[in-house]
């Protein structure tokens, strides 16, 4: 390696970036399929069945269709903002995957501030939605964007407060360190309330039902995505699934013990299996929630955050701090 013109660390990052992109696309395919299949079964339908065995290739075909579609730009739209909005949404979705430890060895880079890095990058999505809503020059889009911003700002708070409880215990922002600290005892058993608050907050952060107010098809047609078509739409779509993946990965890392599970051969790499199983379990729960509940109203959403989640997470933080001091 020494005679390579690229330093090995850079090569490693490059390789990780490519893997991250593969994970993004693969996850969008798997999630799109799971979502439709599970939605179907919850509703006593078979879901996609036509393309491939049990409709396995449906999402690939849909992807090809979306790529081939014309990008319609509304005449009144802000052309620049309208164009960059999907990219602003999608691009940051790849970055957090570089720091997520899938297994002890499968990690792009272990930052000391990995957790903060992820939260910072994910927050860019709000900006993308706001750009999309404003750039489309459509009142429905703008309403969706406004809702999204209010919602994300509100739910960031309980999320960060519960994170602090975990950080108080682990004393590190490094994701690897947090997972390593759960050897033997997952944090969900230590602080189940924090897990619940965090999970609810992530559902809201990723704009999933019952908190899917920025999209709210029965009220806002498609919210901020109303005017988008073709690849513009599918980038939002993939970004949404990637953010869900990241959010569930964070939950797994913080509360469900990351890669920990029954021992496997070559555990340094293969224990990623446990990680993915846990993440997809949470994702399926999210799908399950989406296809069961009605949507909450906008003011109720904020009420729920300020009146329930924030006080609970504050008390939780206090209790954690006191217990640790003793």
């Amino acid at each position: 390696m020494t005679d390579s013109f690229l330093p090995p660390e850079l090569l490693r990052i490059l390789f990780a970036a490519i893997c991250a992109i593969v994970v993004v696309f693969g996850n969008a395919l798997v999630m799109g399929y799971l979502e439709r299949k599970f939605a179907g079964r919850f509703q006593r339908r078979p879901g996609p069945m036509e393309v491939g065995w049990q409709g396995l290739l449906q999402l690939a075909v849909d992807g090809v269709k979306l790529v081939g579609k014309q990008l319609v730009i509304p005449r009144q739209a802000d052309k620049v903002l309208y164009r960059i909005a999907p990219i602003v949404s999608f691009a940051p979705a790849v970055l957090p995957l570089l720091v997520i430890p899938f297994s002890p060895k499968l990690q792009g880079r272990d930052f000391d501030i990995g957790l903060i890095f992820i939260l910072a990058v994910v927050a860019i999505n709000v900006l993308a939605i706001l750009i999309a809503g404003w750039g489309s020059n459509n009142k429905y889009s703008l309403l969706g964007a406004m809702r999204s911003v209010a919602q994300n700002v509100a739910y960031e708070i309980p999320m960060l407060l519960t994170l602090l409880s975990v950080i108080l215990v682990t004393n590190t922002f490094s994701l690897k360190g947090i997972v390593a600290a759960q050897e033997g005892l997952w944090f969900i058993l230590v602080m189940p309330v924090a897990f619940l608050i965090f999970f609810v907050a992530t559902v809201a952060e990723t704009n999933r039902a019952p908190f899917d107010l920025p999209e709210a098809e029965s009220e806002l047609t498609a919210g901020f995505m109303t005017e988008f078509s073709g690849m513009g739409f599918s980038l939002f779509f993939m970004a949404e699934y990637t953010y869900m993946f990241i959010a569930c990965s964070l939950t797994v890392i913080l509360f469900l013990g990351g890669w920990h599970g029954p021992p496997l051969p070559y555990a340094e790499y293969t224990s990623a299996l446990w990680f993915f199983l846990k993440v997809y379990f949470l994702l399926i729960v999210m799908i399950w929630i989406r296809w069961t509940f009605p949507r909450v109203r906008f003011d109720q959403l904020l009420n729920f955050c300020w009146k329930y989640l924030v006080p609970f997470s504050l008390v939780h933080l206090l209790v954690t701090a006191v217990v640790l001091k003793i």
């Binding site: 599970f38 179907g40 079964r41 919850f42 509703q43 006593r44 339908r45 078979p46 069945m49 036509e50 399950w288 929630i289 296809w291 069961t292 509940f293 329930y308």
Partner: protein
């Protein structure tokens, strides 16, 4: 304060109950069918477009006597039929019976007014076409094809 916690408890419980219901439905069998590949049996009483029925005694013939009752009674005016006088045949001979299915509202008046019960409903429900003219059915040709 008590209400506050009671609401969290009852609300959370109602959400869990809802999720259990969808989970139960998840494991129950699918109720839909993959339509063009599988089809549900259609009731024999289904009323599709009208057809001319063949006479039971003389299966080569239909029973229409070209009296034009159906044409007159049709509220949508979608029936056009023509009979003509022929040598050696008693009564009129039907030469054309056209049903404009784009206008038909399937009320069944024509079947009810027919004095010879020459009309009946078909069981066809899958009408597909690219042009309006595809739905201008020639009932006479249909009944002759069946022979």
């Amino acid at each position: 304060m008590k209400d506050y916690f009671a609401q969290i408890f009852t609300g959370g419980k109602s959400l869990l109950v809802g999720m259990m219901i969808t989970l139960r439905e998840f494991f129950r069998p699918v109720v839909t069918v993959q339509y063009p590949r599988e089809r549900l049996p259609i009731s024999p009483n289904y009323r599709g477009h009208t057809i001319l029925v063949r006479d039971e005694e003389k299966p080569e013939k239909h029973r229409c006597i070209s009296c034009k009752m159906c044409e007159r009674e049709c509220p949508s005016g979608c029936i056009g039929l023509q009979g003509e006088k022929r040598e050696g045949v008693k009564g009129l001979v039907l030469v054309r019976y056209r049903l404009d299915f784009t206008k038909c509202s399937l009320c069944g008046t024509c079947v009810e007014v027919c004095p010879t019960d020459a009309l009946d409903y078909s069981n066809e429900y899958r009408h597909v076409g690219f042009r309006r003219e595809d739905f201008h059915y020639d009932l006479l040709a249909m009944v002759e094809e069946q022979k």
